[in-house]
């Protein structure tokens, strides 16, 4: 820490005044940034932990953590996409009006009149797609590298909250343009909130406790999607959820630091660290002993800044990690901008509460759920997602084996179980989909079957049951909970992809099966 220079006062106050004025730039800078140039390891550490925004990040990272093929930078990219979304969102807020009267026309203005409005809107839309993809893939990489272990259990849960918040942000944003797509997708989506009626009706309880209607009224403030719903969604999308997300991301990244940095294998051979810079500053730090060390107490024990590089093979986060994180961010930005030049976000006709969009499809990442909702509103919209979330949350608490951390798929067994499970899931999904498309389901066979039976026995719950059985079998066969978890996660992940694909491509008007969207009537 450089001391503020003692100025040899030129006697008079006015002279002092002038000299202080002359030193203003230097003093201003020093009062703002207390550390010197980032040439020593210590200064670099200070650059990180004396900055409120950077201090949630580790000061030192393990060299292994910089391996691109370990994280693919997905967590950073998720955060980057969120940053892009925040900036473009703020710009859109300058023109967007959350009222049923003006929402649609303000969107039209943004597209056709506001300078660069179309581009900003496109980047916002593509950013949302990218963020959802990154978050899903990030979760998969954390899972498959066993990175939820050894103190990281809680951060896995924080991650799940982030997943839900990300999806909630997309969903609330979808209503804002107030076009046909928005109106009907959100009508369906919010009616899912009232689907517990499917169960309370069967139990004859709806008149006493109507949980469904309560949740729906809370969400949209009315009986139908209207101005109240628009204002509520606007508030959730622009203020409430982003604030929550920022808080949880801060906790998440702080925990990565507190949990000992990113996960890594126990034995890291030199071949895994090839091409990753070493800590060249180590000796240099030793050489500079003169400066005060008390400000380092929090980082390093002892009175000297010892930083030999050993025993953990770490390296300064500034600049090595930050440069890579910045690169990941720029990559995401570039992808979003390029896509936005070539492909416009859609805007359909203005919302018309009398005529549904046909087909009325939710955003793609909800289409898998929409397919399940097409079997039972309650199970598809609430039951199965809840089961999936609880299942995901339980993973680190059921798989308490300390081994198998830091290696993709753990070992040969893990790799082959993941492979076989994805084939199994693929075949099961296709079979069940083909069955329902061709032969319908219970109600087509027994017209008077009670609804409650369909609610609990439908293609969606069948899939869940089959996958659960499959993973239990795997646990038994390989005598390993981790391997069973890999089987289950893979089944769900592949099923999610297939259902999403199926509902995107093969569902047309009246939610009927078509081999290709170009075969839809009216095309």
């Amino acid at each position: 820490m450089k001391q503020e220079r003692e100025t040899s006062a030129p006697g008079s106050a006015i002279g002092q005044y002038l000299s202080n004025l002359k030193q203003l730039p230097g003093n201003l800078r020093r009062s703002m940034i207390r550390h010197g140039a980032a040439e020593t390891s210590r200064a670099r550490a200070q650059a990180v932990f004396s900055n409120i925004f950077l201090h949630v990040h580790s000061v030192k990272v393990h060299r292994f953590s910089l391996r691109w093929s370990y994280t693919f930078g997905l967590g950073v990219m998720s955060a980057g996409a969120f940053f892009i979304l925040s900036l473009t969102g703020l710009l859109l807020m300058l023109y967007y009006e959350p009222s049923t009267q003006n929402a649609y026309s303000s969107m039209k203005d943004i597209i056709y009149i506001v300078p660069s409005g179309r581009l900003v809107r496109n980047v916002h839309r593509w950013g949302a797609h990218i963020m959802v993809i990154c978050v899903f893939l990030h979760m998969a990489r954390v899972f498959y590298t066993g990175s939820y272990k050894r103190g990281r259990e809680f951060n896995w849960l924080v991650g799940l909250v982030l997943l839900v918040l990300t999806l909630a942000l997309s969903f609330t944003g979808y209503l804002l343009p107030w076009d046909q797509l928005a109106y009907w997708a959100v009508t369906i989506g919010t009616n899912i909130a009232s689907s517990p009626q499917e169960v309370t009706d069967a139990l004859g309880l709806t008149d006493q406790i109507d949980v469904g209607a309560l949740m729906r009224h809370l969400l949209i403030g009315s009986d139908q999607i209207g101005n109240n719903a628009l204002v509520r969604f606007y508030f959730l999308h622009c203020i409430f959820l982003p604030m929550l997300l920022v808080m949880f991301v801060a906790v998440h990244i702080w925990r990565v630091r507190k949990d000992g940095g990113l996960s890594r294998p126990d034995d890291i051979g030199p071949e895994l660290l090839e091409g990753i810079p070493k800590d060249a500053m180590a000796e240099k730090t030793f050489a500079q002993k003169s400066v005060k060390t008390y400000s380092l107490v929090a980082v390093v024990k002892g009175s000297h800044p010892e930083n030999s590089g050993a025993p953990e093979d770490t390296i300064d986060a500034m600049p090595h990690a930050f440069v890579r994180e910045f690169a990941a961010f720029m990559l995401i930005l570039a992808v979003a901008v390029v896509l936005s030049y070539f492909s416009d976000a859609p805007l359909k006709e203005p919302a018309n509460p009398s005529v549904p969009e046909n087909p009325a499809k939710a955003p793609w990442y909800f289409l898998g759920l929409q397919e399940l909702v097409g079997y039972s509103a309650f199970m598809g919209g609430i039951g199965i997602p809840t089961i999936a979330l609880i299942g995901l949350g339980l993973i680190p608490y059921l798989d308490r084996d300390r081994n198998g951390i830091g290696i993709w798929f753990e070992n040969q067994q893990g790799r082959s179980v993941a492979f076989v499970s994805s084939i199994f899931s693929f075949v099961t999904c296709v079979a069940i989909l083909a069955l329902t498309v061709n032969f319908g389901w219970l109600r087509n066979w027994y017209p008077d079957v009670p609804q409650i039976v369909i609610t609990f026995v439908n293609p969606g719950t069948l899939l869940v049951g089959v996958f659960a059985a499959w993973s239990l079998l795997t646990i038994k066969k390989f005598d390993s909970i981790r391997i069973g978890a890999i089987a289950l996660f893979t089944c769900f992940f592949v099923a999610f992809i297939i259902l999403t694909y199926f509902a995107t491509v093969h569902r047309g008007p009246n939610w009927q099966f078509y081999w290709w969207p170009s075969l839809w009537p009216g095309h």
Binding site: I188, V355, V373, Q512
Partner: protein, 156 residues
């Protein structure tokens, strides 16, 4: 340690004084929190009143089928009488379309017969039937807030 604690004896007067303040604070805080939690739940649902006029009996000779778009209601007449069926799908609230001999929901493909009974698809319930009444002036009114059992017709 324990001696020290007994030194700071809590007097009855002190306790009553502080205790009262703390209690009052906690009670008002609880009331405040409970009542603000209520706030997001509207007491009056904004929206249309449930009633709408559809015309006179003579406008509905047997065989009539009319759709009231604003109100999302089909009104039919047969030789027995006039009846009104909701067009709102019981699955997730899309608007069903009428075909020759059935209703079809575009959103997830629920099919109902013309009396609103579910034939196939994910809809958990039959379409709602609404009550029809006559005003003193002789006009027919559909009351969307009053549900009636399927088959209940306004007799001619």
């Amino acid at each position: 340690m324990s001696a020290k604690l007994t030194n700071e004896e809590i007097t009855r007067r002190g306790f009553l004084g502080w205790g009262f303040a703390v209690l009052a604070g906690m009670v008002s805080f609880a009331i405040f929190v409970l009542s603000t939690l209520r706030m997001p739940l509207p007491s009056l649902l904004p929206g249309k009143s449930g009633r709408f006029r559809i015309g006179r009996k003579a406008d509905f000779p047997p065989g009539t089928a009319r759709y009231f778009e604003e109100e999302q209601t089909y009104v039919f007449a047969d030789t027995d009488g006039v009846f009104a069926i909701s067009a709102v799908c019981t699955h997730l609230g899309c608007i069903v379309g009428k075909e020759e001999r059935q209703f079809v929901c575009p959103c997830h493909g629920s099919y109902y017969d013309l009396s609103g009974k579910v034939k196939s698809g994910p809809a958990p319930k039959n379409l709602q039937w609404f009550k029809i009444v006559k005003t003193p002036g002789g006009r027919l009114v559909v009351e969307r807030s009053k549900r009636v059992a399927p088959g209940t017709k306004y007799l001619v």
